[in-house]
């Protein structure tokens, strides 16, 4: 189990190298989708089901769809793939070699635990007579409405104002 999560994080870095070596943006979007899936796998493997769902729904399903449409609008006729340029090959090879060195170093002489797991759910005792299971991540996010209500107001206001900012930017002359 820790090794699967570490493998997901290694593939996360490989996906990042894939879009940081800057092929055409449509392939960069593909690399970001793969990295998002691997990152979700890391978070879900550590027990955070709600946060993994947030990655897929909001990040991949919301933001990257918008990126995909904008890329389709502003792209060129012959997009360059990963194997087309010496620069892209060089950065890919450098990134993969770097990640392979990190993985080998961690597997051989990283004496600590790969991932520190101490239980997937948290017991919380409410009162003397009973105890319950809690999902710690969704409970923490739900506390935005309780302890973090001012943060929620500021974030909601920021989202609202950013609509007007985007309208003003794209107004043109």
């Amino acid at each position: 189990m820790p090794y699967i999560v570490f493998l997901f994080s290694a593939l996360f870095v490989i996906g990042f190298v894939g879009f940081s070596s800057k092929p055409s943006p449509i392939y960069g979007g593909l690399g970001l989708i793969v990295s998002g899936g691997m990152g979700c796998g890391v978070v879900v493997g550590l027990g955070g089901l709600f946060l993994g769902l947030m990655v897929f729904l909001i990040y991949l399903g919301g933001m990257l769809v918008v990126f995909g449409y904008t890329t389709a609008m502003a792209t060129e006729e012959y997009p360059e793939i990963w194997g087309s340029d010496v620069i892209i090959w060089g950065s890919l090879m450098m990134g993969v070699v770097m990640e392979a060195m990190v993985v080998v170093w961690m597997a051989w002489c990283g004496g600590d635990l790969v991932v520190s797991l101490s239980g997937l759910e948290v017991w919380t005792v409410f009162d003397n007579s009973k105890s319950e299971f809690l999902r710690e991540d969704s409970l923490g996010v739900a506390s935005i409405y309780d302890y973090g209500c001012w943060l929620m107001v500021v974030a909601g206001w920021t989202l609202f104002i950013s609509i007007f900012i985007v309208i003003e930017i794209t107004r043109g002359r």
Binding site: V13, F16, M63, I87
Partner: protein, 98 residues
């Protein structure tokens, strides 16, 4: 220290490097910025889940909110550049040349 943090921070550094080194498209730089936000989300989620900091679980969600705002503004700027010049090449942004 668990060695998964090394991988996530390496992903952040990789996409920071990709943001700072321009090639031809402005869109690739915006994608690297989104990659940085994704790696910060995963890093803070792992911190919350490993150390059982339950109330800190607000942090990845609020990070996603502000990353969405930033992506929207970046895409609006890219759309305006693309409307003026046809493509989003960074060599088109040359009004302030020496």
């Amino acid at each position: 220290m668990p060695s998964i943090y090394v991988n996530i921070m390496l992903a952040f550094a990789t996409s920071l490097l990709g943001l700072l080194l321009f090639r031809s498209h402005l869109m690739s730089a915006l994608l690297c910025l989104e990659g940085m936000m994704l790696s910060l989300f995963v890093l803070s989620s792992i911190l919350v889940l490993n150390n059982h900091l339950i109330l800190t679980a607000m942090l990845p969600i609020i990070l996603l909110v502000f990353a969405a705002c930033e992506a929207a503004v970046g895409l609006a700027l890219l759309v305006m550049v693309s409307n003026t010049y046809g493509l989003d090449y960074v060599q088109n942004l040359n009004l302030l040349q020496c």
